[in-house]
């Protein structure tokens, strides 16, 4: 499969009369966006706002972050099975509004989390302080249940991203990057001397507010399967995950999966990026055993020499990570795992809920329990009424000057377990 990503750089978002890309400015007609979202009968109201890098703005509670893209050539559309008909994506050409993102916010459950500061200390920890964000503050009608509410907000974000992505359809990209994967046989013939490397991505799949969708299918219902890594660039995987702000993968991170990109960067030079395998992180232990068996089996069938395994979430998935690592290692395949840590506020406790000696090459996204003090912001988009009760926040965490103490786990994307951020720990 061959996919061209055409990057249309965006350095500012302005609300305006007509939605269009002008130079590197993305103009958005807020009324059109609202009308699009309000088609959903479950939604009572929506506000459209803009947050730019460096501004004294806090967005919270953040639900999802999505990058606007449009399919200009090749089969399927962005977010297949959800926003577009089911069709295999990942080939042809896709345009990307690089530097822009849609951020959804809205209280779905009472303990929701996700802080995104556009400046100050918090901005150093979240990758989305560097994007121009179109923020949607969404309120549901009164009788809408949490799972319906989550669904409505998830779709509102995707719809908006598709709407914005469409604006890039006829814009000439500033740069084009090409990603090409080959069939196993072709790859082996072309790179007979390079190690065959695979990427195993574990997807959050535990239940309400903890779900991920693959071509529209709930990931807890899948068996591990093989994907072309370019499929994720067209939105084949989307996030329905609202909990654990620091280490969940927003849809944006799936679209820009950094492991996929960094493996492609070495593809054909130091390694042969042979395949991507997705698996899940179910609550039921028999599912874990089955999924890790299948993952290891697929790695073996693909004759992989090395595998990177990424995790998503806290606690339960540590067990999947160790099972995958142990079983893949047992097949004689070299592994590197990526996780993050919950070592307590003092960093002195055991970091993971599970451990195995085979995980001897581990990359960490840092200790999510570390406390940081976030300065007050001039403006809050969404509501900070919950900052005291979100994960990692606690009672009386607000100081007299308006600054707040939170654990890193409250900050969107701070301890990414796909290695999207630079934080680590020793």
């Amino acid at each position: 499969m061959r996919l061209e990503l055409g990057y249309v750089p965006i350095s500012d978002i302005q609300l305006g009369e007509k939605s269009l890309v002008d130079g590197t400015t993305l103009f958005v007609n807020a009324e059109e966006v609202k009308a699009l979202i309000l088609k959903d009968e479950r939604i009572a109201s929506v506000q459209v706002d803009v947050a730019r890098p460096g501004e004294s703005v806090r967005i919270t509670p953040v639900k999802d972050v999505i990058e606007p893209r449009v399919k200009v050539e090749g089969p399927g559309g962005i977010f297949p099975g959800v926003m577009a008909p089911v069709d295999t994506v990942g080939s042809g050409r896709t345009h990307v509004l690089k530097g822009a993102a849609v951020v959804t916010t809205g209280k779905i459950v009472g303990f929701q989390e996700g802080i995104l500061d556009m400046s100050g200390v918090g901005a150093e920890y979240t990758p989305f302080s560097k994007t121009c964000n179109l923020v949607l503050v969404i309120d549901p009608k009164e009788d809408v249940k949490p799972h319906e509410h989550e669904h409505a907000v998830r779709e509102a974000g995707l719809k908006t991203a598709v709407y914005l992505g469409e604006l890039a359809r006829h814009v000439t990209p500033e740069t084009v990057e090409v990603f090409e994967t080959m069939s196993l046989l072709e790859g082996q013939q072309k790179y007979p001397d390079l190690p065959r490397v695979g990427y195993v991505q574990m997807l959050q799949s535990q239940g309400l507010l903890h779900d991920t969708y693959v071509y529209g299918v709930d990931a807890k219902r899948i068996l591990p399967t093989i994907m072309s890594p370019t499929e994720v660039m067209d939105g084949a995987i989307i996030s329905g995950n609202c909990v654990s702000a620091c280490d969940k993968n927003p849809t944006y991170v799936h679209q820009n999966n950094p492991i996929v990109h960094d493996l492609f960067a070495r593809h054909g030079k130091d390694l042969n990026f042979a395949a991507m395998i997705i698996t899940n992180e179910n609550v039921y232990l028999a599912d874990k055993i089955r999924s890790s068996d299948w993952t290891a089996k697929l790695c073996e069938f693909l004759s992989l020499d090395g595998v990177i395994i990424s995790e998503e979430g806290f606690g339960n998935p540590d067990t999947d990570l160790m099972m995958n690592c142990r079983k893949i290692t047992d097949k004689g395949i070299k592994t590197v795992v990526i996780t993050d840590e919950y070592a307590g506020q003092d960093g002195a406790s055991q970091s993971l809920a599970d451990a195995h000696v085979s995980a001897d090459a581990l990359v960490t996204g840092g200790n999510a329990n570390q406390v940081v003090t976030l300065p007050p912001m001039d403006r809050v988009i969404g509501t900070d009424a919950y900052v005291g009760i979100i994960a990692g926040g606690w009672d009386q965490n607000k100081h007299a000057d308006g600054s707040i103490d939170v654990e890193l786990q409250a900050i969107t994307g701070a301890t990414s377990e796909v290695g999207f951020a630079h934080l680590s720990a020793r």
């Binding site: 088609k39 959903d40 559309g77 099975g81 926003m83 008909p85 089911v86 459950v109 009472g110 303990f111 249940k145 949490p146 799972h147 319906e148 669904h151 779709e155 719809k159 959050q204 535990q206 239940g207 309400l208 507010l209 903890h210 969708y213 529209g216 299918v217 995950n241 909990v243 654990s244 969940k248 179910n282 609550v283 039921y284 232990l285 028999a286 599912d287 874990k288 979430g313 806290f314 606690g315 339960n316 540590d318 067990t319 919950y342 070592a343 307590g344 506020q345 406790s349 055991q350 809920a353 599970d354 451990a355 329990n369 005291g388 009760i389 994960a391 606690w394 009672d395 654990e407 786990q409």
Partner: protein, 149 residues
């Protein structure tokens, strides 16, 4: 299967469940874990992960765990390691006194219940005898959506 829980919603929703039994204990979350541990020590097997969910055990007060119906002769080492690790994790997370409102408690109950439900539903001996979302429609999946929306 036997579900150990301190979540009143799990108890209520699974009252007519035909695929197993529910043991409700009005204890803190850690009490459910230690109770599960004591049973694992006697040969019961864990069926679900004790740290299900990304809501941390120092945030939610609720936990539902499924165990096997009958003890086995040999102790299940995997279950043992899991429960011991989980208890250790639970104990070192900061005890944050949190303002818990009724609405939040309801949300915590719902999330814990849906986590255990997602495990039970996936099993081959899932005999509902219940409507899991009797006062709400089933969580919509996204596959039916038309591309125009």
């Amino acid at each position: 299967m036997r579900v150990l829980t301190n979540n009143p919603l799990t108890k209520q929703k699974l009252a007519n469940w035909q695929g197993g039994t529910v043991a409700y204990h009005d204890v803190p979350l850690i009490g459910i874990l230690t109770s599960a541990r004591d049973q694992i020590h006697l040969g019961y097997r864990l069926c679900t992960h004790p740290l299900s969910g990304s809501v941390k055990p120092n945030e939610t007060p609720y936990k539902s765990i499924a165990l096997s119906d009958a003890p086995e002769k040999a102790l299940c080492t995997d279950s043992l390691m899991l429960i011991e690790h989980s208890i250790a994790v639970c104990q070192h997370l900061a005890a944050n006194p949190r303002p818990v409102t009724d609405g939040m408690l309801k949300d915590f109950q719902l999330v814990d219940y849906t986590l255990i439900l997602s495990a039970l539903e996936g099993t081959s001996d899932w005999h509902p005898g219940i409507d899991p979302f009797s006062d709400a429609s089933h969580p919509a999946d996204t596959t039916h959506l038309s591309p125009s929306c």
